[in-house]
């Protein structure tokens, strides 16, 4: 799994690439944690996880998102999930994670 972070209009946009499963969940968790810390120091105090290049995510990845959200809440950082593919959109709906997170069709909509 690849990972990159950029800043858009004061917000951190973190972009995982690949799949989050048992093998990559730990790295995903660590990257998320670092991105929350980056977002805490950014002017917008917002972390947008860009799902555009994410193939799919198992429950470990979803739970890592929850851990990151707790870290974000404690640091006063808002979190949003942007541009999920059709598979990820289904997984977010089945797990009801679309009730826990703001999910948007574009980065702009998440800002």
């Amino acid at each position: 799994m690849q990972w990159s972070s950029t800043q858009h209009q004061g917000c951190i946009v973190a972009s995982p690439d690949g799949r989050v499963d048992e093998a990559t969940a730990e790295a995903f968790t660590e990257h998320l944690s670092s991105s929350v810390a980056l977002a805490a120091d950014s002017p917008g105090k917002k972390l947008i996880v860009d799902f555009a290049e994410l193939d799919y995510m198992s429950s470990r990845g979803l739970r890592a998102l929850t851990l990151a959200k707790r870290q974000a809440d404690a640091a006063g950082v808002a979190m949003a999930l942007a541009r999920p593919n059709e598979v990820m959109r289904e997984i977010l709906a089945i797990s009801r994670y679309d009730k826990l997170f703001a999910v948007t069709d574009s980065i702009e909509a998440a800002i």
Binding site: S59, R63, T66, V87, I94, S95, L100
Partner: protein, 324 residues
């Protein structure tokens, strides 16, 4: 090996109300629109084969009780029962019928834990009044006897535990040991739940494996420990797994309530390369339609995340029998 579900609901027994039944009848009438039936049998066939399960049937409302039939009753194989929820009453009545036909009057119980919904059936377990019955209650907990005696104290129930006529024994099992009990080998695993709970892995002489894992929360901050759970589920022919909540509920408002989700259960079964999963310990506020929707979504999630052989995702209901 045969697995028979006598109670599949979590936490609290539930029953259909008049309005629920009327709603099912209304849906059935709509589905049958324009059809006529020669007799009741033809109508029953329509209800069984053509109506969706949530309309023509029900997942039921009795709390946890699962029977595992292993070995041959004709050769004296004893009963094996997981938990004593309100579904135990129905099992007890059926067991008396089978005993009258020659089944051994020996009952081996395996207790996931001792919370009320998992023991409430025992005061209504008719074989406990049979002086020729031998009941062995296996548990990972050392306080199983205290829990069962306490619920039959006079303040809670009119029949004292000491008035029961069967020979009743309690045996504490240890994690890491393998026990030969009746026609199965039994191993257990400690699980995260209030006052702890235990999962059981049963293997029969033919190598068929059933795992019974209910009332088990898989904590976010201990995900590394899930490899042990996957190993316990490894290659199982059937995993009966607590899937009470959505994943989102289990990590938010219902965190630390001691239960798992359909999503985590499927991931654990995938990790262990189990063959079948029975969704179990249904949320008592769920309607039949809610449970059917959860089942359909679970089947879809399994498809979306499958990396190896397919995992068959079944939805347990009171009365379901699965032959392995």
């Amino acid at each position: 090996m045969l697995v028979r579900f006598w109670g599949t609901r979590g936490s609290l027994p539930v029953a259909a109300t008049a309005s629920i039944v009327q709603d099912k009848v209304a849906h059935a009438l709509l589905a049958a629109s324009g059809r006529t039936f020669a007799d009741l049998d033809e109508a029953r066939t329509f209800a069984r084969d053509e109506l969706d399960f949530a309309t023509g049937g029900t997942f039921g409302g009795a709390t946890t009780c699962v029977e595992i039939e292993a070995g041959h009753p004709a050769n004296g194989a004893p009963y094996i029962i997981c938990d004593m929820g309100s579904g135990l009453r129905g099992f007890g009545l059926d067991a008396m019928r089978r005993c009258a036909e020659g089944h051994a009057r020996v009952y081996h119980f395996f207790m996931s834990h001792l919370h009320w919904d998992h023991i409430m059936g025992f005061p209504f377990f008719v074989p406990a009044f049979d002086p020729n019955a031998h009941i062995v209650i296996h548990a990972g907990h050392e306080d199983a006897e205290e829990a069962l005696r306490r619920q039959q104290e006079e303040i809670s129930f009119p029949v004292k535990f000491d008035w029961l006529r069967a020979k009743i024994e309690f045996r504490t099992l240890k994690v890491g040991e393998t026990y030969q009990i009746g026609a199965v080998q039994v191993e257990l695993m400690e699980q995260h739940h209030s006052h702890s709970s235990f999962g059981y892995r049963f293997t029969d002489a033919e190598g068929k494996v059933v795992v019974f894992s209910t009332d088990s929360e898989h904590k976010m901050d201990r995900m590394e420990g899930e490899a042990d759970v996957e190993q316990f589920f490894g290659q199982a022919d059937l995993v009966i797994c607590d899937t009470m909540y959505s994943l989102a509920d289990s990590v938010s408002m219902k965190e630390d309530w001691g239960h798992s989700s359909n999503i985590v259960a499927i991931d654990l079964c995938h990790g262990g390369r189990a063959k079948r999963l029975a969704l179990f310990h249904h949320e008592p506020v769920y309607s039949d339609a809610d449970i059917a929707r959860m089942h359909a979504e679970s089947v879809r999630y399994e498809e979306l995340t499958r990396e190896h052989d397919p995992l068959e995702v079944l939805c347990a209901y009171d009365g379901l029998e699965i032959s392995l």
